[in-house]
């Protein structure tokens, strides 16, 4: 009996939900049809901030209407910039929305807080009282709220607030790498709001003990990707302090990669010292980094690593040298000449002993690799390496 009633209840609820959704989507279409031309007209003709008031007047104070309206504005910001965008900002920052969302910011509901943060990220408005509230939201139990408020705080004109926000947020175990990447990006953006960013602030994130290593990795990747050369020597010194242990492997890989991307020539010796480490992934990124540092010494060194025990390392070395526009292929030729002489000498005597066989097979694999990779380069078959 109980089951039957549950069943009927569910049935009704399903259709009720669908009806509701249908109603709202029709409403949305009507709303957009009405407001889109208004907004676009406004963008074309507006001159002053007060013109925005005229448009806003037509909007009711209903929750749903405000959300739909802002949604339209949001979509337009993806399409237009420049002067048009400035006018759009007058609309976005209008007092109506500010009041509406300010209330939500201080509410206790997670939903409301989230909506408020999303709004303020876009509008960019931030005062002292709000800052205090947002900082407290970073410790919220809900990841999205913490993230959204961290995003808003990246609009602050005080660089230390920005940095401390990152410090607090990066400590959270539930922060995803996408969130971290985005926050780092925002940290440097709109830097014109800050009179002058003092020095290499991000290093504080790397030196802080309670920030997990994978976050630090992202910070290093970010520095490399955006060519923040001012961090070059700091990163080299930092690598020297990281002990080689299994849990530090990814951190070391990031650091070596970064030193390569930033072309930190002073790090050459340090990187070479990692070329004999047990972990193949580290050896591979040594090859790549030394290649980026360039110079005949580094390239010769890479060639010297060609007899590595791991196939993947050998393959990467071959690819690197084949792709090298200058003398890579000459070094490979020299290598082949040296060893082929050896191989032919061995073969002409009797069948070589077992351990020699392993060595010869390795050589065979290397020469095959050189042949195929070079041929494919000529035929443009090599996809761009990441």
């Amino acid at each position: 009996m109980l089951l039957l009633t549950t069943f009927l209840y569910l049935l009704v609820y399903t259709f009720w939900t669908r009806a509701k959704k249908k109603y709202w989507s029709r409403y949305k279409v009507k709303f957009r049809a009405m407001f889109m031309p208004l907004i676009l007209d406004y963008i074309e003709t507006a001159n002053r901030q007060s013109d925005a008031d005229d448009v806003i007047k037509k909007l009711t104070r209903r929750n749903e209407d405000i959300v739909l309206f802002l949604e339209i504005l949001d979509e337009i910001t993806e399409i237009l910039n420049g002067d048009d965008r400035k006018k759009l900002n007058w609309l976005i920052k209008h007092a109506l929305f500010d009041r509406f969302y300010r209330k939500k910011l201080y509410s206790n509901s997670v939903n409301a807080q989230l909506l408020a943060c999303v709004y303020y990220s876009k509008s960019g408005y931030l005062n002292r009282k709000m800052t205090v509230r947002l900082i407290s939201l970073i410790s919220s139990r809900n990841t999205k709220v913490a993230y959204a408020s961290a995003k808003v705080l990246q609009n602050s004109t005080n660089e230390y607030i920005r940095l401390n926000t990152l410090k607090s947020f990066f400590k959270r175990p539930d922060a995803s790498s996408m969130m971290i990447g985005e926050l780092l990006h925002l940290f440097h953006q709109n830097a014109d709001k800050i009179y002058q960013m003092s020095g290499i602030l991000l290093k504080q994130l790397l030196l802080q003990k309670d920030i997990p290593k994978d976050r630090k990795q992202l910070v290093i990747d970010y520095i490399a990707y955006h060519n923040l050369y001012e961090y070059s020597l700091f990163l080299r010194n930092y690598l020297q302090t990281v002990l080689y242990r299994f849990e530090n492997k990814s951190l070391i890989v990031s650091l070596i990669n970064a030193l390569g991307e930033l072309r930190v020539k002073e790090a050459g010796t340090l990187i070479r010292s990692y070329s004999t480490i047990q972990n193949a992934e580290i050896r591979i990124c040594c090859v790549e980094a030394l290649n980026q540092l360039g110079g005949s010494d580094n390239l010769s060194f890479i060639t010297g690593m060609l007899l590595d025990i791991e196939f993947d390392v050998r393959k990467r070395i071959i690819q690197t040298l084949v792709q090298d526009p200058d003398n890579g292929h000459l070094l490979l030729e020299k290598f082949m000449l040296t060893y082929l002489k050896f191989v032919s000498k061995v073969w002409t005597s009797e069948l070589p002993p077992n351990d020699m066989l392993v060595f010869i097979n390795k050589l065979r694999s290397i020469t095959t690799g050189i042949r195929i990779t070079s041929a494919n380069k000529a035929l443009h078959f090599n996809p761009v390496q990441k």
């Binding site: 089951l3 939900t17 669908r18 990006h185 041929a375 494919n376």
Partner: protein, 466 residues
Amino acid sequence: MIQAIEWGIITYFLSLNSVYLLLVISSLIYIRQQMLLSDVVKPSSLFKSKVYKTISILVPAYNEAGNIIESVESLLRLEYPEYEIIVINDGSSDETIERLKDHFKLTKTELFYKQSIDHQPVRGIYKTAEIPNLTVIDKENGGKSDALNAGINVSDYDLVCSIDADSILEQDVLKKLIQTFVRHKDTIAAGGIVRVINGCKIVNREIKEIHVPDGFLGRLQSVEYLRAFLFGRVGWDYLKSLLIISGAFGIFDRKAILEVGGYSVDSVGEDIELIIRLHSHFLRSKKEYNIRFLPEPICWTEVPVDYKSLKNQRNRWHRGLADSLWRHKYMLFNPTYGRIGLLVMPFFLIFELIGPIIILLSYLYLGVLFFIPGYTSISFIVLFFAVSVIYGMVVSLISVLAEEIAYKTYSSTKDILILTAYSFIENMGYRQIHSYWQVLGIIDFIKGNKSWGKMERKGFKANSAS
């Protein structure tokens, strides 16, 4: 004695449907959570190139001359920063490889890679400079697993994706799937929701309308997919106990697959078997790992609509499940294997694998009851009906409802009406016949049947509006 049997049967059905209920409800909670402003975390910066790993899509093809070009062309249109497509022609007897060579103007070449996993010999590798991210491998026939293993060897990227030739992917599916890898570190495998494409209106290669299929069997399967795939899997994922990722579309960390030795060539359910082996290996070596399910639709597949094909498909699935569980029976009730060994695999063993036997026997028992003169245990019959059929209907209906709340992908109310009706019908006959097929599957497994059977396929063109 009779009491014991009766109570046994009732308990069985009660627990089975309760577990399903639990799964569906946890799915719903989880999905609602995800949906709350899911676009808050939208990466706008260019930095995402560091976060997005590289993907190789492996397309094993056996006698797919009809579909293969269209399939590859649509894969080439996927939106993702860096990915490649590796088509593996598994010794087709039709013109699959010739069509590929012709259409894409491929030339024979060599690639430098390590033969980490053994497989049937490769006859040739083909590429073209115009489409640098397409590679075609031509090899001797060895079966789907064998073909995939060849693809894994050749791939040089972080992740590999195995896909059925008749699956249709949305353009942003790779971007969606990568979210799982981004959100959960150490993810080694991920799957997503598979939906039924029969009945959808495809115009100009765009899925314009989503409807339930026209046929009886098609509609039954739609409800089934919602319940078992959509919400069953999401539920398991919420409980961090995912055991199955659909063979139609799954994505794996390449190094992880190499660690466990690739797909197994002599298994009928190679997709389940691989996942269980991954669980087994990583749990044994006590390494952190994650196998997750993305609660978003990512793949559309054609379901069989005639009785024979459907029967064969389900028979094969069940043989696959039996085979996989049998190979890894050492994991059952073994604490080394944590939740998977203690809870999930036993669940699958008792409810999914052996379940159909119990179900059939119960119905047999019910049937026998009617022939015993004077025996009228009305309460038992009513209770039985309640826990098996009605409870089942409730669960199916909740799935349909949950779909409405979470996604609302069906284009018209008529579809929902049909689905609701079919969630009745599903429990009044289909699931029972399904159990029968599964029992046949178990018998076939014990007999050692390894065949795949043919499925009558209508192909994409039948679904397009002309």
